[in-house]
Amino acid sequence: MRHECLVIGGGLAGLTAGIRCAEAGLKVAVVTSGESGLSFASGAIDVLGYQPSDSSQPIRFPFEGISELVANHPEHPYAFVGRDGVAEAMDWFQGQLAEGGLKTFTSYSEESNQWRVTATGALRPTWLMQSGPDCLPWIPAKMKRVVFANISGFLDFMPELAAQGLKRHPSFRNVQVDSLTIDLPLVNGLGATADTMRAPQLCRALGSRDFDIIASTLIEKVQDASLVVLPACLDSTLETVHLNDLRRRTGLNIVDAATLPPSLPGMHIHQALRHRFAALGGFLIPATEIRHALVKDGRVLSVSNGEDLLSADHFILASGSFFSKGLHVNPDLNASEPFTQPLLVREPIFDLDLTMPTTSPAEFSDRKFLSRKGHGFIRTGVKLNADGQPEVKGKALHNLHVAGTILGGCDPVQECSAGGVSISTAWRAAGKVVAEVQAAAVNKGGEQP
């Protein structure tokens, strides 16, 4: 079968692109080599939390922020989607997740960010949440006490660390922040204890008696808390939303924070997207690493894993950044003097032009891991031309579109924009493909008598 669109990469961007193509009735396949990074993700979707290079001012209205951002940074991926495009993409994406069995929430307040609590107790501006709308609204009601509660023995959530982290936030300076652990029998745990469990297993181990104990412990010990933060180990799919149940039973405002990976809310997003893609008739080709491409006259004819040819009319590259091997760095670093030579970055399949193809090690990364100005390698990626197309040595590839974290020109970590950039660029790429396929069909139809 000849695919109308072949998507390379099965993560957030790849599946999003696949779903939009399949929804429009295209014959589409997603090729993926391993698993996506979604199992490391918080499961909240950020759109824009900070302007580039300004970590001091959080952005309340992300779409207004995008208008300002694209005016100043025409190389930013959002500039190719535009403010309205990003807004439309996010709305559409939320609908697709719901179709795939996962409910998510934006803030009650029109087009405003809300806050999510990270595993270290930091607050980050976010757009979509799984735990409910405005668990932490932009301007929170005055708080007296915040409690980070953990299940005894569970190692992938550290309430004391998170409590200290939140305490450092200026708005919480005068708030009492403390931690609590709850002993549970883990009735469905088959006799195992929480210290050998990751979040998905803990979720499976919790039974109704455990929920009774969580609820009664919270009522007894922290009834005065303005906010309770639990590790994200409760089921939040459409079938069971345990968090809502606990809120109802305790009358407390409870929110969950992503644990160390594997992160249950991130896995829920992956699951919902895969479910939706399959239901729409898309095909997923696993464990197949695309290595080469056959290009002629500015068009990609086929791609290959080294043994099989995969042909298609259109291609979307969503192979991710360095960790996903969408980008390679310095194949032949001189090991004895690794930091004296310039670094070479390559996109391995098409050899696409990049934002920082060669760079000095000092520009590539900062000595401080959590440096406020971010790292060069994060901004490195595929460069798009003025028409939003990728190029090889300055020549555009007309039937190739690029989406997700492989794109250069932004720092999704510093900006809090990773989810939004992946989703909206994939939405845009798939939209272009759908439009071209439909236009080709009309032309073909017009030729017939």
């Binding site: 396949a29 297993q201 479910h275 464990a287």
Partner: protein, 413 residues
């Protein structure tokens, strides 16, 4: 080989299986997020802990062997997920044979010596089939051996595939192109019709089929049940047969079982330490060969089959990168309405699901798949693996076809 010799050879001397790839582990947990067992068993710590993390400890002292290792099914989804090419599943399998209980177990012997069991039933298949379906026999197997009584045994065929092949062997000479078929235990003793379908399909593509002079069980169940040395012995014989077939003008070696194919091609060298380099590139799972033939223009004449089918991809086919090939073949069948099921493990994992202590786990792993199958509205389920077929047919209302059976149905006679 005497039972005593088999006993002596099993288990212990597995130093060759030690694998240092765990040094590459970044502790990212991508493996644990994909483990079908960890998803349903909170008492299984998952591939990261049992594989690379545990191996570090076990190298210090075998006392660190975690009893939970026995819950690993060997599906290899962890290895597909790993961004650093750690051979997690192989590390766990090796740890079980190296540090685990070396006592001989009748059940493990019986479940894993598939070719021996097949030979023993020769001539008495109808009786054996009847016996294994009887309640008292099932109860006896359950209580005495720990083979779960809820499990249905695959029926043995009256006439083995090798015997049935004799009726068509003569006509194979007329084809200029010749290819060898590793039928495996399941086709020989349980599903000879699938082997005959292969002959019909390849003949329709002007390719003659040969059998190997000698073949033994590929070794998958032997490795899974603690008989690596027996597996190595079988492998050595099979590789010699493959090399002989190639020198006698065969184009390659085909298997219709996705797990056999993975073993013969990829795991002989890296799990069993056997050198198959002379023939490795010639070994193919059937759909890989067919997909490449179709691509080159050699397609049999086909008529529309007008069926709605749901495709389930077996874990070992995923690991081998073969889903692409099966889809490529299925996409070429005219009239076929094809739906791909979510990539979930069916739970049986070869002999794993037959064991009493694993029955519940196997069914829990498979339940999302079974649900999706029942809701699919498909006429048939299609899959490449014989034990996935057993599991799906036992646990759902659907009959399961091999891709080759669909192709044979599409052939224009």
């Amino acid at each position: 080989m005497s039972l005593f010799a088999i006993l002596k050879s099993s288990g212990t001397q597995s130093g060759r299986l030690t694998d240092r790839s765990f040094d590459q582990c970044l502790k990212c947990t991508a493996c644990s997020s994909q483990c079908p067992v960890a998803a349903v068993r909170p008492d299984y710590p998952g591939p990261k802990q049992c594989g690379p993390d545990g191996e570090r400890l076990r190298l210090k002292s075998p006392d660190f062997l975690d009893e939970a290792l026995k819950y690993c099914t060997g599906c290899k989804r962890c290895e597909v997920a790993c961004p650093s090419n750690v051979r997690i599943s192989d590390i766990i399998a090796a740890a079980r044979t190296t540090y685990g209980d070396q006592k001989f177990k009748v059940r493990e012997f019986m479940l894993s010596h598939t070719d021996l069991m097949g030979t023993l039933t020769r001539g008495s298949a109808p009786l054996v089939n009847k016996m294994t379906g009887l309640k008292p026999v099932k109860l006896l197997l359950d209580k005495g051996l720990g083979v779960d009584q809820r499990r249905q045994f695959p029926p043995y065929a009256k006439t083995s595939f090798r015997k049935q092949f004799e009726t068509v062997a003569g006509s194979q000479q007329q084809y200029a192109r010749q290819i060898s078929y590793f039928h495996g235990c399941s086709v020989n003793y349980n599903m000879p019709e699938l082997g005959m379908d292969l002959v019909r399909v390849l003949n329709a593509m002007n390719i003659g089929v040969r059998l190997l002079k000698k073949e033994k069980c590929c070794g998958v169940p032997l490795v899974a049940n603690g008989f690596p040395d027996k597996a190595r012995k079988n492998g050595t014989l099979n590789i010699a047969s493959f090399e002989q077939a190639m020198t006698e003008g065969s184009e390659g070696i085909l298997s219709t079982s996705s797990s056999c194919a993975l073993m013969l091609k990829d795991e002989y060298p890296h799990v069993l330490g056997l050198d198959n380099s002379k023939v490795q590139s010639n070994i193919s799972f059937i759909t890989r060969f067919l997909a490449h033939e179709f691509e080159a223009g050699n397609k049999p004449k086909m008529k529309p089959v007008n069926l709605k089918v749901a495709y389930h991809s077996p874990c070992h086919l995923i690991k081998a990168g073969g889903v692409l090939h099966t889809l490529n073949v299925l996409w070429e069948i005219p009239g076929l309405e094809l739906q791909q099921l979510n990539s979930n493990c069916c739970g049986i994992a070869g002999t794993y699901g037959f064991k009493k202590e694993n029955y519940e786990t196997a069914q829990a792993i498979g339940s999302p798949l079974f649900k999706q199958i029942e809701e699919s509205g498909a006429d048939y389920v299609v899959t490449d693996c014989e034990t996935c077929k057993m599991q799906v047919e036992m646990s759902t209302s659907k009959k399961v076809l091999h891709p080759l059976e669909l192709l044979r149905m599409a052939l224009v006679d």
